[in-house]
Every structure is written in structure tokens, then in C-alpha cells.
Amino acid sequence: MAGETTTNVDRTASDGVLERLQNALEGPNTLGQGRTFWIGFTALVGLLLVYPMLRSSYYVSNTAYLLVSAFLGLSLCIVWGYTGIFSFGQVAFYGVAGYTFGIVSINVTGPVGTLAGLVVAIAVAGAFAFFVGYFMFYGGVSDVYVAIITLAVTLVLNTFMGQTAGEEWAVGAARLGGFNGMTEIPSLAIGVGDTAVRITDAAFYYFVVGSLLLTYLGLRVLVNSDVGYVMVGIRENQDRTELFGYNTQKMKLGVFTFGGVLAGFGGVVYASWGNYIDPSVFGLTFAALPIIWVATGGRKWLSGAIIGTFSVAFISQKLSVFGGQYSLVILGALLLFVILILPEGFVPQLYRRLPWLVDRLPGGESE
């Protein structure tokens, strides 16, 4: 991969704005380059945009939920897939942000409250990730121990939130509610006073699609920048990256904190979507989900993470409707299958076969 870096990306050849944009978005660390890809991408975004006009609000809300999961998937993709930090606790930041959002937005009423809640929750999730990350990376904690510590942190939060059913467990007007969860979390709103718009239904859907699009493109720029190369360097060989003069501890801490922020944003949007959050966001089952999503799609690629998240979340939803109690068994088997047979995930596999397919379509072109 390091060899491709110098040949594939020629940054001096940029003259137009579009081309410069394309150069920033493309690189060896993302799948999908060139015109064919971007035409397909635009078509997909267009499809997402007209979707609410085609289906009932139930489906729109459901699709919005699947898309919300993608923030969690992307955060794990950046942390685990690109930097090689196997965080079992991405859901911890998701849940912490969700709870924080609930506490702030219930106490500070009105749209100001939800905006403040958004900002505070993301800050808290980031600070929490920074704290956990500082102890791990500056303590020289290696791969497996990172997974164990993050998992343990998540499970302790699960135990802690589970025992907060009593009246005394309240922050201001917000009751934590134990296993019954925190209810009546307001939806996000933008604006001041009477002019404020609550982000619900279709507006919520467009809010999620928009922020996901921005996040995806932003992350593409990030992973194809110098920072992204260092991240991949750490994943491939931390010692060597360090010998090249990079401060890998600082880098890992930065990536981990950023992952916490991203997961935190997802948590806020999730709490606002259902107006509800409960300790199961810290549970073993939920902690496993992002790993299944990202590993299945292809953890080393952003598109893999998003497509994996969306499709596996979709499948597991269908399974819980039709497969009932077998859904977790099937998910576990899927994970096992992917690790044993397709360690890279299915999206890179599909992508590698795609040019072959496109070639055979009438009038198809490949690069």
C-alpha cells in the first residue's frame, strides 16, 4: 500500500476547483475512484433524497434509523479499520452522548436546550474518549488489552446505568430510570424560540442524510490526507511508523478521541430519533453490533463500513421480524463466516469484481 501512495496520487496536476476537490477525495485509502464511481455515487445520493417522496413515513423513519447507525459504524471504521485500535467500546461513547443529550435537553427546555445538548454531549463523549485513550495509549497498552479495557468500560457503564432506577438517580429534571431508560428526550430543533424547527420525520431524515454525506466526504479527505497515511502506517506497523519520527501515541489518542466524537454524534441523533435511551446501549449485544457491521462490510474501507452497517442492520431488522429468536444466531454465524472466509469483508470483494461486471455491460467502460 505504501508503494501505491506515490504513484497513484499526483497532487501537482490539480488546476481546476473540481479536480482539486477530486484529488482531495481520492487516494489509496478509499475504494472508488474516477468518473464511474462518482456518477454512481451521485445517483445513490439522489435516490436517498427522493426516497421520502416514494415511501410512507414509517419506512422513512426506519431508513433514517439505519442511517444513524452508520455514524457508529464509521467511527469504528476509522478507529479499528484504519488505525488498528480494536475498540470494543465504541458504543460506550454513543451511549454516554445519548444520555448526556437527554440530561441537558430535558433540563434546558426549548430548541436552545437541544442545541446545547448536542454540543455538550459530543464534548462529553470526546472528553471521555480522550480520558480512556490517554490511559491506554500513554500506558503503552497494546491491541488486545485495548479491546478488553474498552469492553470492560462499556460493561461497567451498563451495570451502573442499570442500577439507577431509584428516585435519587436524577440530574435536575432528568431521571436516569435504570433499565426502564430515560424517556421524553426532546427531538433536535434548530432556531430560537417560536421560529425554531423541530427536526422530526422527513426533516430528521434529511438531517441524517445530509450529515452522513458530509461525514463520509470529510472522512474521505481525512484518510487520503497525510494524517490518513500515518493512521494506516500505525495499523500496518506501529514500530516502523514511530521510527519514521511520528508520534504514534499522540496520533492514536487523537484518532480515538475523534472516533468518540463521531460515535457521540450518532448517539445524540439516536436519542433524538427515539426520544429515548436505555442501558442496553452499553450491553454486550449492542457492543457486538458495530463490530459485525464493520467487519462484514470491510473494516479497512469507509464505503465498506457504511454499506456493511446499512445492510447488516437492515438484515438483522428483517430477521427480528421474520427470524425471531434466530436473528442473533444468524448474526453470530455471519460474523464467523466473514472472519474465516472473507477477512477483508464483502464490499472490497464486490468492488474488485465490479470493473469485470461493468466491462460486460453493453457500453460499459472500465479504467
Binding site: 480494536f86 490511559f135 491506554m136 500513554y138 500506558g139 503503552g140 497498552v141 497494546s142 491491541d143 488486545v144 488489552y145 479491546a147 478488553i148 479495557i149 469492553l151 470492560a152 468500560v153 460493561l155 461497567v156 451495570t159 451502573f160 442500577q163 454486550l284 449485544t285 457486538a288 463490530i291 459485525i292 467487519a295 429468536q325 434466530y326 442473533l328 444466531v329 448474526l331 453470530g332 454465524a333 455471519l334 460474523l335 464467523l336 472472519i339 474465516l340 477477512p343
Partner: protein, 293 residues
């Protein structure tokens, strides 16, 4: 003074109980991780299999000690089958081994729920309790702590005085060299995984009479097991028993003063602090001390 003594005795008993629980939870995991470099995230479910085997055969009419043996045997066979079909392909792929065993764990938890329902009837703790002053303590739980010490002793003997132990340690130290010298390393790994599974099954069998037997019961053990292995480091015996002593003490003190939840939190905070100071755990500290002199 009269009231301090029973209080201290209570603390001591709690410490012994906590030590036993930590060591028994961790020992199977520690052996598989320390010797094979495979992290078995289904460890909790291996323990669950032991407990289910014990409970089911107990309810089928077998006396408890025999039922426990059945539980251990069942888990061992189960572990060997898994090693042969899945784990074998994951040597040298540390993180992948975690993800794959995680998948196994999901399948097992839900599978047990589908087959046996949401819980099994409990066994009931045998042997009654010890009375002292205003406190009482379950005799059986003291027996469990004793079992953990016996187990550590047996493992010490196995790894230092048997041919298997010598070959196993050689395999850990330099796999290629020991293969060149005629050790069948694949067989070594299979046996090690079998022993680790048997120990997990034994833990499940021993704790089956003290707990409600539900499909998700493994998670009670998993966190404690990981915390112990992390604090202990790679050495199975020194690390696990050292971590059991340290964490057991902290858990006992905090549970005694502020309740069970505080004990658990203290356990985690201690782990984070220990790792911050000693990334290779107690094992690393001991090696440094030995190397320094």
C-alpha cells in the same frame, strides 16, 4: 474491640471468596491466552456450558459431584471440537480470533436460550453456612476458594514437572524450534485449548450451585476474567494468582465499605491504573525485578 474482630473476619472471608472467584474465572482464559495468544471472548459461554452440563445432569438425577464431572467433560469436548473447526484457522490472527470467538459467543447465548428456555431450575447451594457472631458465611463458597488454590497448585505441577508441561513451555517460547525438535505443536495447541476449556467448564460446574442458571450468565465471569488476565499479564500462574490477590483485596475492601457496585468499579479503576503503570501487568513487574538484580 469486640465488634472489630468479626468485621475483620468478614472482610477476610470476602477477600478469600473474591480471590477464588477471580482466579477460577480467569484461569482457563489465562492459559489459552498465555500459551496460544488466542483471546477467547466466548470464555464466559464455555463456563456457561459447564454450568448447564452440571445443572442438567443434576436434574436428571445424578449426584452433584458426578454432575460436575459431566459438566467438565462436556465443556472439554466442546472446546476440542471448536479448536478443530474454528480456532485452528486463527492462530497468529489475534484480533480476528477475538472477533470470531465473539461470534461464537453470540451464537451460544441465543442457542442456549432457544434450546433450554430463559433459565434452568437452580441447584441450591450445598453444605450450609459458617456462623460467627452476627455474620454467617456459605461454607461452599469457602470451598470454592480452596478449589482455586488446589487448581493453581496442580497447574504448577503440570507445567513444571510433566513432559507435557515442558513441551508446552517450549512451544510458547519458540514454536518453530520446538517443532524442529520433534514436538507436534498443533497437538500441543489442541491439548492446551482442551485444558483451558476444561478449566472453564470446571468453573461453571463449581459455580452452578451458587447462581441462577441463565444463557447470559457468562458475562458475569467474562469481565472479571479479563480484568484478572490483564492485571496479571502473560504468565499464567504468577500473573493470575498475583492479580487475584491484588484485585480480590481491593474488591473485598470496597464491597465491604460501599457495597457490591463500588467493589466492581474499584476493580476496573485499579485495572486501568495498573495498566497505566505496568503495561505488561504483574508478570512484567516481576520480570523487571528479577532482571534488575
Amino acid at each position: 474491640m469486640a465488634s472489630v474482630l468479626p468485621q475483620l473476619l468478614n472482610l477476610l472471608l470476602q477477600f478469600i471468596d473474591s480471590f477464588g472467584f477471580l482466579v477460577l474465572s480467569a484461569i482457563g482464559l489465562a492459559i489459552i491466552f498465555g500459551m496460544m495468544g488466542v483471546i477467547n471472548l466466548a470464555h464466559g459461554e464455555f463456563i456457561t456450558v459447564g454450568a448447564y452440563g452440571t445443572a442438567l445432569s443434576f436434574h436428571a438425577g445424578l449426584p452433584l459431584p458426578v454432575a460436575m464431572l459431566v459438566g467438565v467433560a462436556l465443556t472439554t469436548v466442546f472446546g476440542l471440537i471448536l479448536e478443530f473447526t474454528v480456532i485452528r484457522r486463527l492462530y497468529g490472527r489475534l484480533l480476528d480470533s477475538m472477533v470470531a470467538t465473539w461470534g461464537i459467543s453470540l451464537i451460544m447465548i441465543q442457542g442456549l436460550r432457544i434450546v433450554f428456555g430463559s433459565s434452568l431450575p437452580s441447584i441450591g447451594t450445598p453444605l450450609g453456612s459458617v456462623q460467627y457472631g452476627s455474620f454467617s458465611y456459605s461454607t461452599y463458597r469457602l470451598l470454592l476458594a480452596g478449589a482455586s488454590l488446589v487448581l493453581l497448585g496442580v497447574l504448577y505441577w503440570v507445567f513444571t514437572s510433566t513432559e507435557f508441561g515442558t513441551r508446552a513451555r517450549a512451544t510458547i517460547q519458540d514454536e518453530e524450534m520446538s517443532r524442529a525438535l520433534g514436538t507436534d505443536t498443533n497437538r500441543m495447541y489442541l491439548l492446551t485449548f482442551g485444558i483451558g476449556s476444561a478449566l472453564a467448564g470446571l468453573t461453571g460446574a463449581l459455580y452452578a450451585p451458587t447462581m441462577t442458571i441463565v444463557p447470559g450468565m457468562g458475562s458475569t465471569f467474562l469481565v472479571e476474567a479479563f480484568v484478572t488476565v490483564v492485571v496479571g499479564g502473560a504468565s499464567v500462574l504468577v500473573g493470575t494468582s498475583g492479580a487475584g490477590l491484588l484485585l480480590g483485596f481491593i474488591n473485598a475492601v470496597f464491597s465491604n465499605l460501599f457495597g457490591t457496585f463500588a467493589g466492581r468499579m474499584a476493580l476496573l479503576v485499579t485495572t486501568i491504573l495498573v495498566i497505566r503503570a505496568l503495561p505488561r501487568g504483574i508478570t512484567g513487574l516481576l520480570e523487571d525485578v528479577r532482571g534488575g538484580t
